[in-house]
Every structure is written in structure tokens, then in C-alpha cells.
């Protein structure tokens, strides 16, 4: 309980789901063999942190920002650039991670102090403008960033499949650097999530909730609203940058479409909404559902199409090419039946 900062997930059902997801992710390499499954599990770990950090901003502080992928990108490009210029080493990863997080914190501080005084809609617009400007810069400064092609870089051999740690296989899994890399991502993500959970359940988090509800009242009680909001922005930016670094270390590649695009921003928003705003645990549920759907819906539909051959209309509707249509239907249904998100619905405070 202490580990969860006294914030229980809620009812028994949601607790059971979360424990299952935790076990699933912790044992992913052994339970779901194959590169694709492991890749999906790592993506889920990274996005849990990214979505949780956005939930801190949107769900707890009530701040709408469109710059979250930008901070994610800072972390990712930080690792990519240092690995590119310093060569493959753990030092490069460390320095890249730290400098990405630092850059994210400074920019978040600047944006926050300059623009969190204004009305929410203007802040959202400013973040959108800054994020677009950064995306354009990254794609134009191709000498440094590789432009639209992005950067491929090397990470220490100890974290790649080339490094074997044992001659035997454990439950059919080769003990190599890739496995170590997955557990690096998994454990960092777990720690970051617990830290975020701690933050929202601290006195600081309580003030954020108060500000979200009634900022004038919070101010009249004696809290400087702009500082608390800026603090939330900086913390969530740093967490997003750290998630970006993990993602870059896992992929060994960064590019505008994987870490900076506006589509990722929309994915994050959807994951927060599907999981449940202002719940933290919603980030876990939202990220798992969304990324599984993104990765496996197409395959499932292919199977269904094959099974329904010969029936009228249905095979056409279930054509794998139409997977985005069904993804959309899934979202509409989830928002319709779970307006407060899945976790919000199941915990009902």
C-alpha cells in the first residue's frame, strides 16, 4: 500500500485487472514469445509512463497541453544525439537522458511561467504553437537531427540481441541483451509510474485538484496557482522526456513520426480518456487497450474475415484494411459506455 501511496486502484475488479497486467508485462518475454510481442510490451511500458504523466497534467491539474509529445521527443532525441556523437556507451545514454529531461524541464518552466496565467484555451494554443515550431525545426535541421528520416544509433552491446548471457534457454527464451533491455524499460517504467502516483497523492497533488475545481478559491486559501500549475507542467514534462529516452533506447531509432508527431499526441489523449482521467491507473488500462488494438486488431480482423468467407457483406466489413474504422467504433463505444473512463467507471469514488 505504501508503494501505491495509499491510493488503492478501487474495486476488486480493477485491482485484479491491474495485477494481471502487471504480471503480464513483467513476464512478457516468457508468456508471449516473439519479437513482435516483446516490442508491443515495451511500447506499452513506455506509453504507460507517457500517458500517466499527461494524466498528471490533464486529469489532476486540469491543464490542456498539446506539447506533451514535444517533451517526449526531447528525451528521445537527447539519447539519440549523445549516442550518435559520443559513441555507444552507457554514459551516452545517461547524459542524453539527463540533458533531454533538463531541456524539457527548462522549456516547460518557460512556457508555464509565461502562459499559465492566461486562460486555459490560450495556454493550449501556445503549447500547440511551440510544439509545431519544434517539430518543424527538427525536420528542417536535418544535419543535426536527420530530418524526416530520423536517426539510427547504436546502444551498448550489453543491451542488444548480439550479447548472449547464457548458453541455455530459460523456458525457451534466449537470455540475451534484448531481454535485459526489455527489463530495463520495464523496471524504469514501473518506478516512474510509482513516482507519478506518489506525486498526485501528495499534498502538492491535492492542491492541484483544488485548483482544477476552483482556482479562485485555491488562491483565496493561500496557494499561488501559477506556481502550482507550472510545477505540474514541469514534472509532467520531465516524466514524458524520461519515457522518450526509454523509447529511444528500446527502438535504437528516433524520427519525427515516432516521437514527435501530432498523431502521438492524439493517441495519448485517447489513452487518457479511455483509461479514465484523473485516476493514474487509467493510464495503464488505456495504454494496454490502445496499443494492443493498434498492433493486433488488423491481424484479428484478417482471421475473422477468413472465417466468415462466403457470407454476404461481413467479410468485406472485416477486411483488415478497414481496421481504422473498427478502431474508431471501439473508441466511440468506450466513450459512450465509460464516459469517465474505464478505471473511473470501475472505481466510482
Amino acid at each position: 500500500m505504501k508503494l501505491l501511496s495509499q491510493d488503492r486502484p478501487g474495486g476488486p475488479l480493477i485491482s485484479a485487472i491491474l495485477v494481471l497486467l502487471l504480471i503480464g508485462l513483467a513476464l512478457a518475454p516468457f508468456l508471449f514469445p516473439g519479437t513482435r510481442a516483446l516490442d508491443t510490451a515495451a511500447r506499452i511500458c513506455v506509453f504507460v509512463v507517457l500517458v500517466a504523466s499527461y494524466d498528471l497534467l490533464l486529469g489532476y491539474a486540469g491543464i490542456v497541453s498539446f506539447a506533451h509529445t514535444m517533451f517526449f521527443g526531447f528525451g528521445a532525441y537527447g539519447v539519440a544525439l549523445t549516442s550518435e556523437h559520443m559513441g555507444r556507451s552507457f554514459a551516452a545514454l545517461g547524459i542524453g537522458t539527463l540533458s533531454g529531461a533538463l531541456a524539457a524541464a527548462l522549456l516547460a518552466l518557460a512556457i508555464g511561467l509565461f502562459s499559465l496565467r492566461v486562460r486555459a484555451i490560450f495556454f493550449a494554443m501556445i503549447t500547440l504553437a511551440v510544439a509545431s515550431a519544434v517539430a518543424v525545426l527538427v525536420s528542417q535541421m536535418s544535419a543535426l537531427t536527420g530530418g524526416e528520416d530520423g536517426l539510427n544509433f547504436q546502444i551498448p552491446r550489453a543491451l542488444t540481441a548480439a550479447q548472449k548471457y547464457a548458453d541455455f534457454k530459460l523456458f525457451g527464451v534466449t537470455l540475451n541483451g534484448k531481454l535485459l533491455n526489455y527489463y530495463l524499460v520495464f523496471s524504469c517504467a514501473t518506478v516512474l509510474f510509482l513516482v507519478l502516483l506518489r506525486i498526485v497523492n501528495s499534498p502538492f497533488g491535492r492542491v492541484l485538484l483544488a485548483i482544477r475545481e476552483n482556482e479562485f478559491r485555491a488562491e483565496a486559501i493561500g496557494y499561488r496557482v501559477v506556481w502550482f500549475r507550472t510545477g505540474a507542467t514541469v514534472l509532467s514534462a520531465v516524466a514524458a522526456a524520461l519515457a522518450g529516452s526509454l523509447y529511444a533506447i528500446w527502438l535504437r531509432y528516433v524520427g519525427p513520426s515516432t516521437v514527435l508527431s501530432f498523431e502521438i499526441m492524439i493517441d495519448i489523449l485517447l489513452m487518457v480518456v479511455i483509461g479514465g482521467m484523473g485516476t493514474m491507473y487509467g493510464a495503464v488500462v488505456g495504454a494496454v487497450i490502445f496499443i494492443l488494438a493498434q498492433n493486433y486488431l488488423q491481424g484479428l480482423m484478417g482471421l475473422a474475415e477468413g472465417a466468415l468467407q462466403g457470407l454476404p457483406l461481413l467479410p468485406q466489413l472485416l477486411d483488415p484494411d478497414r481496421w481504422l474504422l473498427w478502431l474508431g467504433v471501439l473508441f466511440i463505444l468506450s466513450v459512450y459506455f465509460f464516459p469517465t473512463g474505464i478505471v473511473g467507471r470501475l472505481r466510482r469514488r
Binding site: P203, R206, V207, L209, A210, E213, N214, F216, R217, A218, E219, A220, I221, G222, Y223, R224, V225, R349
Partner: protein
């Protein structure tokens, strides 16, 4: 009124293009209850909000305990020792009663001593301690709102219509709580339309009209003089 805790000198406040306060002169003595009376729309609530810095005074000076607070940020004014209970109560409906009170103690943890006093004044708050404040009844919300101002040592309370729309039984609880607060020696500036409560609690009194204070003096004097009431507020306060 030699050493008032709060002084307003020639305070003008505009809301948009409306000139609401037109030179308010007001002194709130240390200890005791000062009633702020007047018809609707004469600027009583605006006066309280201007003291808190929620509206900014365009001209004039506000002094709290010898310190000029006219230009301070709202949060700093609150931390200087003024507890504000707004008309809309402004409780955090999504948070629990407990969380509302913990938040109110902005400068440190809530002392159990104060909590006991709050529970003694408002027993329902203990009953609903862990439930969401949004589910409280109107009277209970008002109790929470006042309890929140009491969560910390304040030297001055600004309370805006605490009995508005409450059942008579709850009005009595509220009046008793305000009397306890007064007995502790805090100064209270109270906007109140319920004249029975006003007469019961008030020591001194200021009457506003058209954005100015037009009369101030001891409450007993106003209460005893129906002609004066008639002249100041255009109605007899003894009317039902």
C-alpha cells in the same frame, strides 16, 4: 476604533466598465463582529472580494494590521491571516470533507485541537468526513465553508451571507458557530441579510449604498432606531 485591524480608505473598484465601489471608507476593529449591511447590489460582496484581491482596487488603500495589502497577490493576502468565506461557498466538490479541510490549512498540518473545535461546532462534518463534499446538503456545505476558514489561526474573517437560503435550524447552528468564533477574539466582517442574526452577533455596523459606506456606528444604535433603518436602507429591518 483607535487601532482597526482592517482599514479601507477611498477604495474604488471597477468591474468591467461598471464603477462598483466609489470610495469605500471602512474600519474593522480588532475583535468583535462588524456587520456590513445594505440593499442588494450596493457593493458588499465586491468590498470583500476587493479586500482579498480577487477584484483589484483602482484607487484607494487597504491596510490589514498596519500593512498595506492593496497590491498583494490574493494568496499572500490569505496567508497574512484573512479567512474568506465567499457567498457561493466555493468548496471543492470532488474532494472529500477531509481533503477540503487539509487544503484549507495552507501553512501546515491541521492541528487536532482545531479539528476538535470544528467538530464541536459542526457535528455533521465528522459524520461525512470521508465523503465527497459535493454530496453534502446546502447547510452542510456552508458549515464546511466556514470550518475551512477556521482551519487555521486567522485574525480576520470575511464572511459573505452565511445564512442565505438555509433552514432555520441550521441558521441557529451557524449563528452559534459565529458567536464561538467571536468569543475566541477574532475580528469578523460579516455580510448578512438576516437582521435577527445581524442584531444578535453584530457589535458595530456599516451600511452601504451605491458603492459607499453611508453610515457606521454601533449595532445597538441602528437596531434601536427604526427611523434610521428606514432612511439608510429604505425599509424597516424589523419587517417580517
Amino acid at each position: 476604533m483607535s487601532d482597526p485591524i482592517l482599514t479601507l480608505k477611498g477604495v474604488h473598484t471597477d468591474i468591467g466598465r461598471y464603477h462598483i465601489l466609489q470610495g469605500v471608507e471602512l474600519e474593522v476593529p480588532r475583535g468583535g463582529v462588524t456587520m456590513l449591511l445594505g440593499r442588494n447590489g450596493v457593493g458588499k460582496t465586491t468590498t470583500l472580494r476587493t479586500v482579498m484581491g480577487l477584484w483589484r482596487a483602482r484607487a484607494g488603500q487597504i491596510t490589514f494590521d498596519g500593512r498595506d495589502v492593496t497590491a498583494l497577490p490574493t494568496a499572500a493576502i490569505a496567508r497574512a491571516g484573512i479567512g474568506f468565506v465567499p457567498e457561493d461557498m466555493g468548496i471543492f466538490t470532488d474532494l472529500t470533507v477531509e481533503e477540503n479541510l487539509i487544503l484549507a490549512a495552507a501553512s501546515g498540518p491541521l492541528s487536532s485541537d482545531r479539528l476538535d473545535r470544528i467538530f464541536a461546532a459542526f457535528p455533521p462534518l465528522k459524520t461525512f468526513w470521508k465523503s465527497a463534499a459535493g454530496n453534502l446538503s446546502g447547510g452542510q456545505k456552508q458549515m464546511l465553508s466556514i470550518a475551512r476558514a477556521m482551519a487555521e489561526e486567522r485574525r480576520l474573517y470575511l464572511i459573505d451571507e452565511p445564512t442565505k437560503g438555509l433552514a432555520p435550524a441550521i441558521v441557529a447552528t451557524m449563528a452559534a458557530a459565529l458567536r464561538d468564533l467571536k468569543a475566541e477574539g477574532a475580528a469578523i466582517l460579516l455580510v448578512e441579510q438576516n437582521f435577527a442574526v445581524a442584531r444578535l452577533l453584530g457589535d458595530s455596523c456599516a451600511v452601504m449604498d451605491d458603492g459607499r459606506v453611508i453610515w457606521s456606528g454601533p449595532m445597538a444604535e441602528l437596531a434601536a432606531d427604526t427611523a434610521l433603518q428606514e432612511r439608510l436602507m429604505g425599509l424597516s429591518l424589523e419587517a417580517p
